[in-house]
């Protein structure tokens, strides 16, 4: 029997399709956010989300605990990206693809902006009240995130942006929780290194920004 023909009565008398539809409405933005970080192309991200939703509906009857919909569908999205999507991807990457030199998963080298940059710069940098600067720094962070190797990028997005626990992110990615823990540490280190390289690199002068912040 096709799943669409099965009326599973959910809590509160809601049928399976209505429940699924509501769950998709609630997770649509998050699915697109993660898909965009994986594919780095808007059209590919839309295709990946649509493919994920189709697969999720086909398997929805097997999801015993409907409260776990969010990590469950993220896992389908990630698996779809790994197994099908990456192989047939033809569209170019839209975001900048700056690579940070050191990206070994087991590298224990910890880089902290706080220990590297002057305190005054960080106070200025962390100030969210200046719209122009805020936009500029938003771009800095987007570039830094885009520069992370895929494994670190998706882990940081799942935990820091979508609020999944380490255990849930581990379930999504099919890795042990300890790997999520180490990827978070390494991902944040690489992110800060990339922000530092951008701040001191082409066209960006830390001392000018710092002066601007102090004045």
């Amino acid at each position: 029997m096709h799943l669409a023909q099965v009326t599973v009565v959910m809590r509160g008398g809601e049928d399976a399709k209505a429940h699924f539809s509501r769950a998709i409405e609630e997770t649509m933005d998050a699915l697109y956010t993660v898909a965009l970080r994986l594919t780095r192309n808007g059209a590919d991200a839309e295709d990946l989300v649509a493919e994920t939703v189709a697969k999720a509906w086909a398997a929805f009857g097997q999801l015993e605990d409907k409260e776990r919909f969010r990590p469950w569908i993220f896992r389908i999205l990630h698996n779809s990206f790994i197994s099908d999507f990456r192989k047939k991807k033809v569209r170019p990457v839209e975001e900048s693809d700056i690579r940070v030199n050191t990206c070994g998963e087991d590298d224990d080298d910890i880089f902290s902006l706080l220990e590297t940059m002057p305190h005054d710069f960080l106070v200025w940098w962390g100030n969210p009240e200046r719209e122009y600067v805020n936009k500029l720094l938003g771009d800095d962070i987007r570039k830094a995130i885009a520069s992370l190797p895929e494994a670190f990028r998706v882990t940081v997005i799942l935990v820091n942006v979508e609020g999944l626990s380490y255990d849930e992110a581990a379930e999504v990615l099919g890795v042990p929780p300890g790997t999520v823990r180490s990827r978070m540490k390494r991902g944040r280190t690489l992110l800060q290194k990339s922000l530092w390289e951008q701040a001191t690199g082409a066209g960006l002068d830390v001392s000018d920004r710092m002066k601007e912040g102090i004045e």
Partner: protein, 85 residues
């Protein structure tokens, strides 16, 4: 271990131990006992407190810069897809 008022004593940790557990603490993925130890250390160490505040601010900036909204075209596509099920 309990103190003389019967409360559970907080295990004291040094800066290295606090920084090692900082991301787990900020991400809310830490057990109760370790959380109490990290908080106790941050309450008493200005350098580690500054580091924690900076990391917290950076996480907020990451969230702000990365939160996306599904485009209208995708919203429509998914509604049609679900209608077809």
């Amino acid at each position: 271990m309990t103190d003389d008022k019967g409360k559970k004593a907080v295990a004291e940790i040094d800066c290295l131990q606090a920084i090692t557990q900082l991301y787990e603490y900020l991400d809310g993925n830490i057990d109760e006992e370790s959380r109490a130890s990290v908080e106790h250390h941050l309450d008493h160490c200005r350098d580690c407190f500054s580091r924690a505040e900076f990391e917290r601010a950076l996480t907020e900036r990451i969230q702000e810069s990365q939160k996306g909204k599904a485009p209208k075209s995708l919203q429509e596509r998914l509604r049609h897809l679900i209608d077809s099920f």
